[in-house]
């Protein structure tokens, strides 16, 4: 356990204070910095885009509005141009032109990101993948799917399920998010526990670089050790190193038997012991282990009128098993449930094997984010911690904030050591924000956690990177950015801290 040293603290302060201009300040490192000297869009630029993308160059402010605001409605840009290319070639021509003209570009998929990374900060041109939604190939022996970056995750899931496969990732935003966006942010989600991260399941990428060069690394090979693995640079780079235009991804077979158990625990310690028992008794069939606390359940009941299927408990667990043999899985699951019930690790629970009931139980976990939006302004923190420490952060935060916050709730991928800490107040409250940050980041850093487990840094968290990465690492990231995007036109003001130059 190491505290941030006085030197580290000074370094962070220095960088914040001396970052260019007035926007980001020690009190508010998440705010936008001043606009960098990119060119502004002219009539000639519009003429070029309109010729390249007839009918797909949007300048109507009403149509632009929803693309200028993030899903949480917490950040808003002023872009005047939204471009909708259909092909990689069009993306290449757009970027080549913008690079020459020094026009900033904000790549945008489903716009479901939670850190303000998917919308413009100022007048960046929005480059949308919404019309790049073709499946290119699918091989049902290897399970390798190749598709354009604008395919909606749920549509890909439906396509694959008809062919007896599934996507290796699943998240609450599946109805809107694009696979290109998922890859650019290295999205985690509910199935990571079982199928691993996109860094393992993505086999190849096609990326357009800042100067328009097309990098075709769309391999569909499970194993290929020839040279540096460039795709890993782009996965998780949040659109700052290149625009992903196509993805090839390894898909698992659709499980024949899926079961979901919804359990109640009276303490976090018992929840952790249930997890250990679960790992031991369910082993290879375990596909998800999620938790939510009692505060989350009250919000679901209050705002979304969902019913708690079991008796009220301080903690709730969602366990999913997925396997190829229903009888085998049910037997294992029932033995496990008997064990945790008789040993009182679990106080109540229910099980579902039918699709409609399974959806209903999952919605209790997947819709917490939605329920929170009805409480006013939400401060969202996506933290990775050693699994035993996860709920300590929620409790410490409650104590620390007292009456200043209306709700302090915890939920998330406890199986992956990932907490979603959410705090609400009726409206945006700078005093509350000052009490939360940097307390939450220092707490996380103290336990060597990550200040952004899966949501990424985007706009809101870019200046906090030093809490989880050493300065040498961040400096090297800056060099790579400078090499791939010397003019800095790709998604500026995001991901890397303001004073990277």
């Amino acid at each position: 356990v190491t505290d941030l040293t006085a030197v580290d603290r000074a370094l962070i302060q220095h960088r914040c204070v001396h970052s260019r201009g007035l926007g980001a300040s020690p009190g508010n490192p998440g705010a936008a910095p001043p606009r960098l000297p990119f060119s502004r869009v002219t009539q000639e630029d519009l003429a070029f885009f309109r010729t390249l993308l007839p009918g797909r160059t949007i300048t109507d402010p009403d149509l632009l509005k929803s693309s200028n605001v993030d899903w949480l409605k917490t950040v808003e840009g002023n872009s005047e141009v939204l471009l909708r290319p259909k092909t990689t070639e069009e993306v290449s021509q757009i970027l080549r032109y913008c690079n020459e003209r020094n026009l900033a570009v904000c790549p945008q998929g489903g716009n479901t990101g939670l850190v303000g990374g998917s919308v413009p900060v100022f007048d960046e041109i929005i480059l949308s993948t919404s019309l790049m939604k073709q499946v290119i190939t699918f091989d049902n022996i290897s399970g390798i799917l190749t598709c354009q970056a604008g395919c909606v995750l749920e549509n890909l899931s439906n396509y694959l399920e008809e062919r007896d496969f599934i996507m290796p990732l699943d998240l609450g935003a599946k109805g809107s998010c694009h696979i290109g966006g998922n890859v650019s942010t290295n999205a985690g989600g509910l199935r990571l526990l079982r199928y691993g991260s996109l860094r393992g399941t993505v086999l190849g990428l096609e990326v357009v670089l800042a100067d328009g060069r097309i990098l075709n690394c769309l391999a569909t090979l499970r194993k290929d050790n020839t040279g540096y693995d460039l795709k890993q640079l782009f996965i998780g780079s949040e659109g700052t190193l290149g625009v992903i235009t196509a993805v090839s991804i390894l898909c698992p077979r659709k499980p024949k038997a899926v079961n979901v158990a919804f359990l109640g625990c009276s303490s976090f310690q018992q929840l952790l012991e249930t997890f250990q028992c679960c790992r031991g008794m369910l082993g290879e069939i375990l596909s998800a282990f999620e938790f939510l606390d009692a505060s989350c359940m009250s919000l679901l009941e209050k705002h979304l009128k969902l019913t708690n299927p079991i008796t009220e408990s301080p903690f709730y667990i969602v366990i999913e098993t997925a396997g190829s043999n229903a009888t085998h899985d049910e037997e294992k699951l029932h033995k496990f449930l008997e064990e945790v019930m008789t040993s009182s690790l679990v106080t109540d629970g229910t099980v579902a094997t039918e699709a409609t009931k399974i959806k209903a139980l999952w919605s209790l976990r997947e819709r917490v984010t939605e329920a929170l939006t009805h409480e006013g302004y939400t401060y969202k923190y996506d933290i990775s911690l050693p699994v035993e420490k996860i709920y300590d952060l929620v409790q410490d935060m409650r104590g620390h904030l007292g009456d200043m916050a209306k709700n302090v709730v915890g939920y998330g991928h406890v199986g992956d050591g990932n907490l979603h800490l959410n705090i609400t107040s009726p409206s945006k409250d700078p005093a509350l924000l000052a009490a939360i940050e940097p307390y939450v980041y220092e707490w996380t850093s103290k336990w060597k956690g990550s200040i952004s487990a899966e949501h990424g840094l985007g706009l809101k968290k870019r200046n906090y990177i030093y809490y989880s990465k050493p300065s040498e690492a961040v400096a090297l990231m800056g060099s790579i950015k400078a090499m791939l995007d010397p003019k800095g036109i790709l998604n500026p003001y995001k991901t890397l801290p303001d004073n990277i130059h």
């Binding site: 008796t311 449930l337 019930m341 229910t350 039918e354 699709a355 409609t356």
Partner: protein
Amino acid sequence: MSARVLVGVKRVIDYAVKIRVKPDRTGVVTDGVKHSMNPFCEIAVEEAVKLKEKKLVKEVVAVSCGPQQVQETIRTALAMGADRGIHVEVSGKDYETLGPLQVSKIFAALAKKEQADLIILGKQAIDDDCNQTGQMTAALLDWPQGTFASEVTLEADKLKVVREIDGGLETIKINLPAVVTADLRLNTPRYATLPNIMKAKKKKITNVKPADLGVDVSSRLEVLKVEKLKEAGRI
């Protein structure tokens, strides 16, 4: 109240499954396909269990007709609160051709044998959409029927039933013994909780054959063909 309730629970292809017609067009594919309790039967079980919790009836007996697999469906009813189960064994060709007429004869025979005071069934099954078993059972027993029930109240030895009909809601009062069929808005079925799932394992399911009840399950209907509806359009 010493009343005994019989509840029918049918095992059907799960509501969320995409149905595939067999290539020979004699029926739909059921092998390896997810099955579950007919949603209207769940509502029927819930209503019966609620009556028991209010101490208005003494015993809830869950009944299902079919092969070995229907025992799962009976177990689900037991986990929701039914006291015991009866598995009427019907398999093979007889099961494929089993329909409302034969099932209602079985229920009528069981009602007499078990001295039931009330039979609650789902209004229809989501696989055949027949909506006949409840009505036929009442006719065979010469009992009153309260069908499409969205509310059921026991008042001494009479049953007040609010029925969902085209024009609105119709309230009727019928004598016991009676047959009630459950409609969607009658109640919201409970989740079977783990303690009850454990208890259910110990509850009894008795096996009985249609012949023991004096029922002939042969069918007078012949299915000529089963076809998929023409697709209206592609997404």
